[in-house]
């Protein structure tokens, strides 16, 4: 997807990357020194990968696949590991944090946060994108990023009240299968698309393997007799919004 970015476009992309970085930093300074450095590193890394994926020069199917892997899978994974929702809940004043919790529990967001729906939005969009003459548009990046984030957060349970482990495991396997089947289907159907299809297949596998490890590790920790405590909240000692109940929300 080489759009030959205009100056206005570059400015837009630049601010879309820098603003979240700055806001996150401000929120971390609000929360205090208890916020883990690895979360910050994940967030910054995710934005970096996102920038590379969007601005990557090139064209053709292989390029689209690489861009999808970065924007729709790797960047969302790192961003979700940055725990932005948990950070927001800690950093916001109590009243606003409560509003955010209510918003997260609202029907539309609960629906989008359902692992199966998020997986459908994620993998289903890929099928539409590559098996129909769908318009190749910059908004495709936005959809890939958002759907990828929703899916990753739903699977890893980084938002409050994650779904049960079995359901999430089934959705992860189904989504991963949908991704692999699409790759083989494209390999078979479109002559010339073989390198891109192989990249889609093995690249998707690699990211899904990381997801599987993180998911199982979260499960393993919930069973742990000496579970590590939630990272300290720092200076905000009272009045913080209800912390995510489920121990899997690590």
């Amino acid at each position: 997807m080489n759009h030959g970015w205009s100056a206005a476009g570059l400015l837009l992309i630049g601010s879309a990357l820098v603003v979240p970085l700055v806001v996150y930093r401000l929120a971390v300074s609000e929360v205090g020194p208890g916020w883990p450095a690895r979360y910050r590193a994940c967030w910054a890394g995710g934005l970096g990968v996102l920038g590379v994926g969007v601005l990557l020069p090139g064209h053709g199917f292989t390029h689209q696949v690489l861009s999808h892997l970065l924007v729709g899978m790797v960047a969302p994974l790192l961003l979700a590991l940055g725990r932005p929702v948990r950070l927001a809940l800690r950093a916001l004043p109590v009243a606003r944090a409560r509003t955010l919790v209510r918003l997260l529990r609202s029907l539309p967001l609960r629906t989008l946060g359902n692992p199966a729906i998020a997986a459908l939005l994620n993998v289903g969009a890929l099928w539409l994108l590559w098996t129909t003459p769908y318009a190749d548009h910059p908004l495709v990046h936005v959809h890939m990023l958002l759907a990828g984030y929703l899916f990753t957060a739903a699977i890893l349970g980084t938002h409050p009240r994650p779904a049960g482990f079995r359901f999430r495991a089934a959705v992860l396997v189904a989504a991963s299968a949908g991704h692999g089947i699409l790759a083989k289907y494209l390999y078979a159907r479109s002559p010339g698309a073989e390198p891109g299809a192989l990249l889609l297949y093995y690249g998707g596998d690699a990211v899904d393997l990381v997801l599987a490890v993180l998911f199982c590790r979260a499960w393993f920790r919930t069973l742990s007799p000496r579970r590590s405590a939630v990272p300290a909240t720092g200076r905000r000692s009272c009045g913080s919004p209800p912390a995510p109940r489920s121990p899997s929300c690590r």
Partner: protein, 142 residues
């Protein structure tokens, strides 16, 4: 399913798929990523088993770690589950996926029959060995 058997079975599925992928696809290049006779059902079956085997391998190892942590590891049941699942998957691969769904063949440009027989006999032997271990484990337990 009992946790030891489950952990073993998941790892068996993962190991069988891993051996298939590394030895026959990547090293020997006997199996093809896709061959022209593959059916749509073959693609779907392969996709599901491939994704499930990835996840199963990881989940099996974490389950094993949990069993060790709780000192509940039972070797006979665990190995029984692993061998039985590896055999069952290989038998499914060798009969349904290779023959019925024509996903791909074991080897090309040769008479494939001896390869098919070897493949499926090994599968049955693994399955039988696993089942024997599981039955013995049950006998010991009762």
């Amino acid at each position: 399913m009992e946790r030891n058997v489950l952990s073993g079975a998941l790892l068996g599925l993962g190991v069988a798929a891993f051996v298939d992928e590394t030895i026959f696809h990547q090293l020997l290049h006997w199996h093809h990523f896709y061959d022209k006779s593959t059916t749509a059902a073959g693609l779907v079956s392969d996709g599901i088993f491939h994704a499930a085997s990835w996840f199963a391998t990881v989940a099996a190892l974490f389950l094993l770690a949990d069993l060790r942590r709780r000192r509940a590891f039972a070797a006979r049941r665990w190995w029984g589950g692993q061998l039985a699942a590896a055999g069952a998957f290989q038998l499914y691969d060798g009969t349904v996926q290779h023959k019925l769904l024509r996903l791909h063949q074991i080897r090309y440009h040769v008479d494939v029959a001896p390869y098919d027989w070897a493949w499926n006999v090994v599968a049955v032997v693994l399955l039988a060995a696993g089942a024997t271990l599981l039955i013995r484990a049950r006998r010991v337990a009762t």
